[in-house]
Point group: C2
Chain length 108, copies 2
C-alpha cells in the first residue's frame, strides 16, 4: 500500500491537492458551524469547558488527519470518504487502482 512520489503523476497530485484542500475547508466550515451553535447555548462553566474539550479533540484530530504526504494519502482519502467529507467521484483523475484502494479501505 506504500505509495512513493513516483507513483503519483502530476495530474494525480493536482487532483489530490485540490480535494485535500476542499476537504480541509469543509471540515473547518463544519467546525465553525458547530462552535457557533454551541456558543449560542452556553449557560454554565461546564458547557464552556465542554466546548473547550471539543475544540481540543477536533484540533488534535485535524492535525493528525490533514497530513499531505503522498505515502499516506490513500488512507487520508479513505477516511474522508468513509466519514462523508469527500465523495469518491470527487477524486476522479486518480488512477483506477488508487480509486479502488480508496474505495476498499473506506468500506472497512
Amino acid at each position: 500500500m506504500q505509495e512513493t512520489l513516483l507513483d503519483w503523476s502530476d495530474q494525480e497530485r493536482d487532483v489530490a491537492r485540490r480535494v485535500f484542500d476542499l476537504a480541509y475547508q469543509r471540515e473547518i466550515d463544519s467546525l465553525i458551524d458547530v462552535v457557533r451553535q454551541r456558543s449560542g447555548s452556553l449557560s454554565s462553566v461546564e458547557s464552556v469547558w465542554d466546548l473547550h474539550d471539543y475544540l481540543s479533540c477536533k484540533r488534535h484530530e485535524m492535525d493528525g488527519r490533514f497530513d499531505f504526504r503522498l505515502a499516506n494519502l490513500l488512507f487520508v482519502f479513505a477516511s474522508l470518504v468513509k466519514e462523508g467529507v469527500v465523495r469518491l467521484d470527487e477524486l476522479e483523475g486518480l488512477s483506477n487502482d488508487k480509486l479502488a484502494k480508496i474505495g476498499a479501505l473506506s468500506s472497512m
Copy 2:
C-alpha cells in the same frame, strides 16, 4: 499574611463565600459573552484555534484563581478587586484589617 481558619469568623466566611461565588459567576458570564462574540466572527482555521487557545488560557487561569482556601483568600480577593471583577465595598462584613490588606494588595 497567612490566615488560618480561626482568623475568619462565621460571618466573614459567609461574606467571603458569597462574594467568591458572585465573582466566579461574573467571570463565567463575561467568558460566555466573549466566546459568543468571537464565535460570531470565526472565518478561518486560525481564528478557531485562537479561540481554543483563549479558552485553554482562561481555563488554566480560572482553575488557579478560584481556589476557596481561607489561607489564600486575601490574595484572591485582591486580584479580583484589582481587575474590577469585585468592588471592595462588596466585601463589607470582613474585618477592617482584612479589608485594608485586600485594598493594599489590590493597589500593588
